[in-house]
Symmetry: C2
Subunit: 441 residues, 2 copies
């Protein structure tokens, strides 16, 4: 327990931090109320999220919700909500999740000012944000003395191992999910102990369960029993959390909460690793389109899947792949080899099928062999259209399944072998090759 005490000592908000956060929250709430009064609006103003729940770690976002009556038109809700937000946050800018809100800063703290509908219960939701106030109320009325710190511990553990955050970039555990896990099991240790024997498809709840889900982990939302709070969690992050829980319980360490920074491998080390393995890297670059992360990451994953599928159908053996999004998009694919023989066996119909003749007419005297029979089927050695992985990707990636924002393949380049082992690819190659867990760095 000494480790967890030490972690809490480091992350529990100090009285000064608390005071600053509370002051800012109070001031914004007051300012929003004033604005609403000015505009003659009958709306409820509510502090939600981790500050309202006292479960934040580090410098928190302030989430202020403006709850409009359901009689207000959606259009008016959006324009009024954005107007208030802009007037209060000097540097505020509109952002768009399921519907728009204003993001800005106040006294150095990140602030979201979000308009939503004040619905009576979760069955009447008009959009996902309408659910947030219910979550805040649920957690606030359920968390017991001391559990706030347990939430903080588990959040930091999740951050440390790299599974915190439900956004598309991470595909991990949301803050609300962490809170529900603490409510379900009591404390961080208890969550880790339970997770040690979780299986894929583990199904949890704090009350009634609704329709079945097929996600890697299911946690029925206590305020909306037909929603899986863990729907964003990837199977890899579930596996990683299970693994980390077991590791931590057998060898607790501060490194799970405060991992060292991961540094890209030096090129010389990359060369050594590749020489040891005898495999080859293919690195594909694309320009980064003007998309928010929640759109960009899924599209990059789809594009990388498409590239891997393309390569495999082209006869290449893919060992591993990963991507890194910085100024541009970089995808690294480890191949058994990046250049295949110039020929390939092309299998045709059985000899007793009527269109055997057209296969023979097509290939007689034109292949790298005469047609020959294999178990009664015609085959012929033919020139491979794309013996080079680079050529295949450059020529055909446009036809592979791609995210709409990447369909133009702006800035596409591809290199393999020694050409790939250059400074600008160091980061993505490190992402691929460095398989240490965060707490092992």
């Amino acid at each position: 327990m000494a480790i967890e005490d030490e972690v809490l000592r480091r992350i529990r908000p100090t009285p000064e931090q608390r005071e600053r956060v509370d002051r800012a929250a109070k001031a914004i709430l007051e300012a929003v109320r004033e604005k609403a009064r000015e505009k003659g609006l009958d709306i409820q103003i509510m502090l939600v999220g981790s500050v309202a729940k006292d479960t934040y770690v580090g410098s928190p976002d302030l989430d202020i919700f403006m709850l409009f009556p359901p009689t207000v038109q959606r259009k008016d809700l959006e324009s009024l909500g954005l107007a208030i937000g802009r007037e209060i946050l000097k540097d505020g800018e509109a952002r768009y999740a399921e519907h728009p809100y204003i993001h800005g800063t106040w006294d150095g703290l990140e602030v979201d000012l979000v308009p939503c509908y004040a619905v009576k219960d979760a069955s009447e939701l008009r959009s996902a944000v309408d659910r947030t106030p219910f979550h805040t109320q649920y957690v606030n009325s359920s968390l017991k003395e001391g559990q706030h710190d347990q939430v903080r511990l588990l959040k930091l553990f999740m951050k440390g191992i790299g599974t915190y955050g439900a956004e598309a970039r991470t595909r991990g555990f949301s803050g609300y999910l962490v809170e529900l896990l603490i409510l379900r099991y009591g404390g961080m240790r208890e969550v880790l102990e339970a997770a040690s024997s979780w299986r894929k498809g583990e199904t949890l709840s704090l009350g009634e369960r609704g329709r079945p889900f097929k996600d890697p982990l299911v946690f029925y939302d206590p305020v909306d029993r037909d929603r899986n709070v863990a729907s964003a969690l990837s199977v890899n992050n579930l596996a990683l959390f299970i693994h980390a829980a077991r590791e931590y319980l057998s060898r607790p360490s501060l490194a799970f909460f405060f991992p060292n920074e991961r540094r890209p491998m030096p090129l010389s080390q990359i060369r050594d690793v590749m020489k040891d393995r005898g495999t080859e890297l293919l690195v594909v670059h694309l320009d980064r389109p003007d998309l928010i992360d929640d759109d960009l990451y899924p599209q990059v994953r789809r594009t990388l899947d498409g590239a891997v599928d393309l390569l495999e159908r082209g006869g290449f053996v893919v060992y591993d792949r990963d991507f890194y999004i910085g100024e541009g998009i970089q995808m690294a694919i480890e191949l058994e080899r990046a250049v295949l023989p110039r020929s390939v066996r092309h299998d045709g119909p059985p000899a007793w099928i009527d269109n055997a003749r057209s296969f023979l007419d097509k290939w007689r005297g034109k292949g790298l062999s005469e047609p020959f029979l294999v178990n009664g089927r015609w085959s012929v050695m033919v020139s491979r259209e794309h013996p080079q992985a680079v050529g295949l990707v450059l020529d055909r990636l446009g036809q592979a399944a791609l995210g709409s924002g990447l369909r133009g393949l702006e800035g596409l380049t591809a290199v393999s072998g020694e050409d790939a082992l250059v400074e600008e690819n160091r980061r993505v190659i490190s992402t691929l090759l460095d398989k240490r867990k965060n707490w092992e760095i």
Copy 2:
């Protein structure tokens, strides 16, 4: 039809040939009868096979059967039969099919003297040879005027394209099957026309059909309706015959009956072909064990299948393979590449399975990467046990499924790449690379 007339002109036995064959047959039959009388044996002596049926091509074997009454003990039948055979054929030697017989020569003709049982009908067979007299009687009583020449034509066509002979070496059409096909369809052209639209699993008969068979071609034996006369035929030879039939009908040529000799490719040409393809050859040699062809060929095929399976399980991509049996056994396998990367991805259990820990304990810090998660399963890059096809075959072929006569792997050698392209491998490599049909040479 001019081509078939020309073929018949060349192969129909001349009066001098006929006279010689008939004289020899008569003399042996008389000699055997005399011997039987001397020994006080009450046996029937019968000329069977293609001479008896007048369907032979070229210099025929003389097949003389000695039909013993079923009351004679098997042991006595064998010893008496072999004794008579040895006394008549000065150079005779015992051979063993399902039971023993004497093979020798008489006046320059090959002769088989075969003891068998005189059974009343095919349902009482004691061994497969007992069926032969029934076959001879059936064909003799069924073939019409002119059909003998049609049998000769189809036999020579089968020989020319390489599908004649039911023995394990060839896995083609037996002489009896050729005769039945002529009886079924009338003449050679009619057989080829029918074969043009055969399918795999084609089922033919000249009377009652017995139990079902799953062979590529089924022809119910008219003297034993539960036997498939075509059981030895491989699917490739069925396909080749269907193909040759179509080809011949659209472009008849003497080359189908009298193909040119196939010559091994010069090494320089082999080098050019391999350079064009960019693939690599693996050539495996084994000593030739002291086995008859009917045992040897299936064992070599099984061994080659085992080697291919071994290579594929080892990560090698096999394009093609073939073998040649001369003084020794040579097997050639065309590979995408003969050397693989030194590493391979080794996939383990999902992270939520209990034995995930033992996978991690085994590989942590010991692989070519740390263990990493792929769709929730642990994987790790490890050293490949056999990056070289040659090493894999030398090390493991002994564990692959092998024919019993080859299990010792006497004289095993394996070479690949440039080392394989040497004079002594020219023959087997040509067998693999030269995909021209016999009539295209």
